[in-house]
């Protein structure tokens, strides 16, 4: 068990605590939460360097925090304040901080896939180090955009990693009712793109698979497809009803990625009770500071509506 594991645990704890704090507010807004899917966000980001660019779907809070964006800035953006990285204009659906290697979220299902391929093309053509990684859900796997992206990425050997964060549902529709392949990684097979299906609730497995894929991209070997089997603990969004039975949810929550890693670290003696308390305390302080920063931040002026349009 490596020294980084504590860091991975802290990242996941931060995401969980951040979202809990956000949801306690009446003004939380329209959100898609990452709870349950922290291991995918954190494991993928653990494979990235400062030269890489991460693109996501609308389920962006976990990835943004895992990528290292300041929690206060993220909270401000989610709450529509001008101190967010996008002046409160993007919100969760479009939050972006390219200087931090977070090219950004895009709220159109599958909409970031071809964009990510374009980012990879720019990196490849300009000879810059760095790869593009795009995280999307099983919901995007029925789209033509995925097929087109797989094709062109394979053809041009783009430095691109496609991470399918498969939580088993496209909102209320189960994978089997929406998608013909039972293993979504098989979607990459016709394009001869290396693909794997892994346990998305195991942050170390995600990190290892992401690193292998990233390395292939860095060496000029082209794209990879990593399917992470995960599960969301909340509804699809704050505007969606829950469709799962209580016992299904209970079974899922028993696989919590945070509890899983913590238990392993405790068993190995790497994480003492005191150390865990310390982590929880750090995370709580970080979240409190984020909330305070966001609450103190101004909303944008209505007069800035026409700025940066064209």
């Amino acid at each position: 068990m490596d020294a980084d594991a504590i860091g991975l645990l802290r990242s996941m704890l931060l995401i969980r605590a951040f979202e809990d704090a956000l949801m306690r507010r009446p003004d939380h807004g329209f959100q898609l939460l990452s709870a349950g899917q922290e291991a995918v966000a954190v494991g993928v980001c653990a494979a990235l360097t400062a030269d890489d660019q991460l693109l996501t779907s609308g389920r962006s809070i976990g990835p943004a925090l895992a990528r290292g964006l300041d929690p206060g800035a993220v909270m401000a953006e989610l709450l529509g304040r001008a101190s967010g990285p996008n002046r409160g204009r993007g919100g969760r659906g479009h939050i972006a901080d390219p200087d931090a290697g977070f090219f950004g979220a895009h709220a159109v299902v599958g909409g970031n896939l071809t964009i990510a391929a374009g980012v990879a093309l720019a990196l490849q053509l300009s000879g810059r180090p760095g790869i593009a990684v795009c995280v999307f859900g099983d919901g995007a796997c029925g789209s033509g955009a995925l097929h087109e992206t797989l094709n062109i990425a394979a053809l041009w050997k783009l430095p691109l990693v496609l991470v399918c964060d498969n939580n088993g549902y496209s909102i209320a529709t189960q994978q089997a009712a929406a998608l013909a392949p039972s293993r979504l990684a098989d979607l990459a097979a016709p394009f001869r793109i290396p693909a794997s299906t892994i346990d998305g609730m195991d942050v170390l497995a995600v990190r290892d698979a992401a690193r292998a894929a990233a390395q292939r991209a860095r060496l000029g070997e082209g794209p990879s497809f990593v399917e992470c089997l995960s599960g969301r603990f909340s509804t699809h969004s704050t505007a969606t009803r829950e469709t799962r039975a209580p016992d299904e949810l209970a079974t899922l929550k028993a696989r919590c990625p945070i509890r899983r890693l913590a238990t392993r670290l405790e068993a190995l003696g790497t994480l003492t009770a005191d150390a865990r308390s310390c982590l929880d305390g750090e995370v709580a302080d970080s979240v409190a500071a984020a909330i305070a920063f966001a609450d103190a931040a101004p909303y944008p002026d209505p007069d800035e509506l026409l700025r940066d349009v064209v």
């Binding site: 002046r87 993007g90 090219f103 909409g111 071809t114 374009g118 980012v119 940066d308």
Partner: protein
């Protein structure tokens, strides 16, 4: 911008396009071309002739028939620092790529608070020339009201050259719309490097009786109509919009303020068309009510020669519209 080299040289329309690209690709290593058959083949109209040989296959790339990903690639690459030109041979198929163009490309500057931009040119060819209902459309109006998107439409070789240079230097995204029927034409193009600014219309012909506002291939139709009307003592002023978004309402209004009458002309349908926008802007600014719109009949444009001709505006229809307006 116009360099010191005087005089003009006559070029085929396609050569004007290739020249603009060659100059910009030589100036700026970030400019690349993506699209179907743009490489060795040189483009459906040979409008990319010579670029593959000059700049190589990394910068002039053939793509599969997959407009959504071609445009998405262009948008993403632009946001990440390149200046791509994406070629969509038929404007009819631009609609397959409207999601990355409109939902990302046109919005990325705004939605990121200025952190990202998409300096991309989508070059596409509109218009009817016997190729049928799905290969004939003029869809400029679909793009004109998208905040964040610029749309330009040259009517001649010199403007194709100058506007394409401007588009390639713009912060984008810019949709550059040319026309099938412009490719057989040739025109005088400045010898020196010249840029035609986006957002400026051009008065092609001076006249005092009526202003015809048009763009693209229809400028020729307007000209032919104006010749016929001149024989009968009606003097037409023709304003070639050149840019549809932003639209140069000032030049249009300055003209209609003098003539007192406006006829808009476009090859596409009049419903919610370019002319509808021009007419409203003129009426709002000047209160002028002598306004008529000429465009295609509200039917798909068939490859059937009888039906295509019945559908599209021609000089005779423009003449009739001007006469009706001036007599009313």
């Amino acid at each position: 911008m116009s360099s010191d080299v005087p005089g003009t040289v006559k070029l085929f329309f396609r050569e004007a396009i290739a020249r603009a690209l060659r100059e910009e690709m030589a100036h700026d290593a970030r400019v690349i071309v993506l699209g179907q058959d743009v490489g060795r083949f040189g483009g459906a109209y040979r409008e990319f002739d010579g670029l593959y040989a000059a700049f190589g296959g990394a910068r002039v790339r053939d793509t599969p028939v997959a407009e959504a990903s071609i445009i998405g690639l262009g948008v993403g690459a632009a946001a990440a620092g390149l200046h791509p030109l994406v070629s969509i041979t038929y404007m009819d198929f631009l609609m397959l790529g409207l999601d990355p163009l409109v939902n990302y490309g046109a919005k990325v500057r705004f939605k990121t608070g200025g952190r990202l931009a998409a300096p991309l040119v989508v070059k596409t060819t509109a218009g009817a020339k016997g190729q049928g209902v799905a290969h004939s459309q003029c869809l400029e109006p679909w793009l004109m009201n998208v905040p964040g998107l610029k749309v330009v439409a040259p009517s001649n070789a010199a403007d194709a050259y100058g506007l394409l240079k401007a588009a390639l230097r713009d912060d984008g995204p810019v949709v550059f719309v040319d026309h099938k029927r412009l490719f057989p034409t040739a025109g005088e193009v400045p010898r020196g490097e010249t840029i035609v600014p986006i957002g400026r219309a051009a008065v092609r012909r001076r006249g005092s009786d009526v202003t015809i506002v048009t763009h693209g291939y229809m400028c020729r139709t307007a000209d032919a109509a104006a010749d016929r009307l001149a024989e009968n003592g009606v003097a037409c002023e023709i304003v070639d919009l050149r840019s549809l978004a932003p639209l140069d309402a000032e030049t249009v209004c300055e003209s209609v303020a003098r003539t007192g009458a406006l006829v808009t002309l476009e090859e596409g349908p009049t419903a919610c068309g370019v002319g509808a926008e021009v007419a409203c802007r003129v009426h709002e600014a000047l209160g002028v009510r002598r306004i008529a719109r000429v465009g295609a009949a509200p039917a798909p444009v068939s490859s059937n020669p009888v039906l295509e001709a019945a559908c599209l505006p021609d000089a005779a229809r423009v003449v009739a519209a001007v006469r009706r307006l001036l007599l009313s």
